[in-house]
């Protein structure tokens, strides 16, 4: 085992230890707290947006800016892939 592997093992153990402590001391699975915003969206998505699907009403109406950024990232990724392979495709 080289020195590089030893450093990797130690840092991985520290990371997993802290993550495991955090997961073991989290709130119980299936019991939510502070869900005021979600309860508002569940009860108002039908009369404010008119959509039966509350997830779609969040994606395209309440949090439209997130979807705009997501579409921009998808566009940038497509442009990046085409630029990376431009020489191979067009010659």
């Amino acid at each position: 085992m080289s020195k590089r592997d030893l450093v990797g093992v130690i840092s991985l153990l520290i990371l997993v230890g802290f993550l495991g402590l955090g997961a073991a001391s989290m709130r119980e699975f299936g019991v939510v707290d502070r869900a005021y915003m979600d309860d508002y969206i569940i009860s108002h998505s039908q009369d404010e947006v008119g959509a039966n699907n509350a997830v779609t009403s969040v994606v395209f109406d309440y949090r439209g800016f997130d979807t705009l950024g997501e579409a921009t990232i998808l566009f940038a990724a497509v442009v990046g892939v085409i630029v990376i392979f431009r020489r191979e495709v067009h010659e």
Binding site: Q46, D47, E48, V49, G50, A51, N52, N53, V55, T56, S57, V59, F60, D61, G64, F65, T67, L68, A71, L74, F75, A77, V78, V81, I82, F85, E88, V89
Partner: protein, 160 residues
Amino acid sequence: MSEMSKIVRSISNLLLPFILIYGFYIILHGHLTPGGGFQGGAVVASGLVMVLVAYGSERFASWVKEKHLSVLESIGALGFISLAFLGLSTAFFYNFLAGKGGLFGDIPPEGSNPGALNTAGTLPLMNLAVGLKVIAGLASIVLVMGLASHYFKQGGENDT
């Protein structure tokens, strides 16, 4: 990528219409059932990728040009942003069609209901725009990668 055997090509011909119909169903019913523009667009794009893998990227590129796909993606992005700007009299991303009657303007009954297609304002139009964008984007990514893999197989300028 090169062409696959006749069995694979026939089965992919047979399956393609069903996959396309299922994908467009998911896109158009995004405001009523689980799904939406992204998920349905991924289903349609995977159907196109199935045809690409069965027939090889050169023959697929002679049917679906990369130029056309980029035009389709631009139409999707511009439609999404212009739908967001059309509600600017109140706020950016304001749902200006909901509850007005007319196109997609109905309000569904409160609580559990069977679901009417003519509801939810701008959401179905935005689903359609984002679905077009995702179809074109994923299909052009796989198409460009397939053409590039053919180039590497020929030798190219692998100078290392």
